[in-house]
Every structure is written in C-alpha cells, then in structure tokens.
C-alpha cells in the first residue's frame, strides 16, 4: 500500500434485502478495492444485520450475498468494525455474526479474524480518523 493511500470508510447502516443499500455498498467496496486505498468497513444501526449468520434468501427470491463478505480478505479489506451498542439494541451478540477471516501476508499468511466489535466511543474515533466517508 503506497504512502499516499487515503483512508476510506464505508458506513453501513441498513439491513440487507429490504433496500438496495447493503448490496450497493458491497459492490462499491469490491470495485474500490482495485484502487489500493486503506479501506475500513463500519457496521452500525440495522447495518449489523448485514453480517448476521444463517441468512437464507431462497424464500424471498433474492441472491444471498452474505458469503461475499468472506471474500473481502482476498481484496485486502479486513477491518470490519461492528458497533456493540447497535448489536445490543437489536438483541444480537457477536456470536450471531458470521465468521470472517483474512490471511495476514506479513505474518506468514496466518488466518486472523476480520470482525472487531467496538463500542460507540471507539466507532466515533474511527470515523474521525478517515479521509473519505462513504455512507450507505
């Protein structure tokens, strides 16, 4: 990653399937990954549902795109920050989220978790450290 790489934050605040925001965000992340920026994903409010495990979409006739989050490590996107308060308000815990990992190139390809649950104050700080914020 070059010295002048900008810090991009994708803020995800909507549940999947009810609106197109979650899928659009994921597609922009995938396309944007080609530009070698420093990418962070934030999941808060209903956006935490994007990472819920056990999504079964056959009944609603839509493609289940939740497995695609697990591919993002291949695109050097491995910072998924999930807000603890948003989980708690919705009766969710970290165990309700799917497991997402990446292989750390600088650590002999060790497999590491991509998801980090942070509290609201930490989320505020993460937001305040970005060059560009894209909201979905």
């Amino acid at each position: 990653m070059s010295e002048d790489a900008k810090k991009f934050l994708y803020v995800n605040r909507k549940a999947p399937y009810g609106t197109i925001y979650a899928l659009e965000s994921l597609e922009v992340v995938l396309i944007g990954a080609a530009f070698e920026q420093e990418v962070t994903l934030a999941f808060l409010d209903d956006g935490v549902y994007q990472l819920a495990k056990g999504q079964e979409t056959a009944g609603v006739g839509m493609k289940n795109f939740s497995p695609t989050y697990r591919a993002l490590g291949d695109y050097d996107v491995n910072k998924f920050y999930v807000e603890r308060e948003s989980l708690e308000e919705r009766g969710l815990t970290e165990d309700d989220l799917q497991e997402i990992t990446y292989e750390d190139e600088d650590d002999d390809w060790a497999e590491k978790p991509s998801i980090r649950v942070v509290n609201r104050d930490e989320m505020k700080k993460i937001m305040s450290e970005q060059d560009v914020i894209l909201s979905f």
Binding site: E27, L30, N64, T68, R70, Y75
Partner: protein, 110 residues
Amino acid sequence: MGYQFNGQDIAHDEEGYLTDLSVWNPQLAELIAKDENIEMTPEHWEVVNFLREYYDEYQIAPAIRVLTKALKKTMGPEKASNKYLYELFPYGPAKQACKIAGLPKPTGCV
C-alpha cells in the same frame, strides 16, 4: 439468443454469459469456449474450475489480482501472472474464463 446444445437452446445474454447458471456443465463449457475460439486444455480447466469453486464459496467471480494470487498459492508462481492468464484467455481472463465457467460477468471486470 442461445447456445445450441444437445438439441436444446441454452439462453445467454447479449454478451454470451449464461442466463441461468444452473444449466452449466463441462460439455457446455467446451461449446462456449469454441464460440470464443478457445481450445480447452487442462490449463484452461484449472482456471475455469478455480473460478467455479470461488463463485460457489463467495457468490462472486474474483478480481484478476485475486485470481493470480490464488493461482500462485495453489499452482505455483509460473502460473500466477497476467501474461500466463492472457495466453490462455486472450480477450481477458475474467471476461472469457467467467463466460466459459458459466458465471455472470464479474463486477469491475477486465
């Protein structure tokens, strides 16, 4: 629009990508390849099979750099270059190999 296969008309879009991914089979892949002027070799199949497995697991076709990185790991560095992939699929590995693999056109594809 469709491929003529075993007396059936298999629908594809205006660029030749299958409309229904579930109708794919290896013989149909050979037919699509022929349409692209590609003679399938074991090396072609390595790439096509990798793409299918990746799609099955993640529901997307990988970007080219992801593809080369993965090939490097599983098949060795000599097969992990754009040059090698373009020799196999002259009109772009993502574009042609995905079409032969029966996958949708990749997001932001080459």
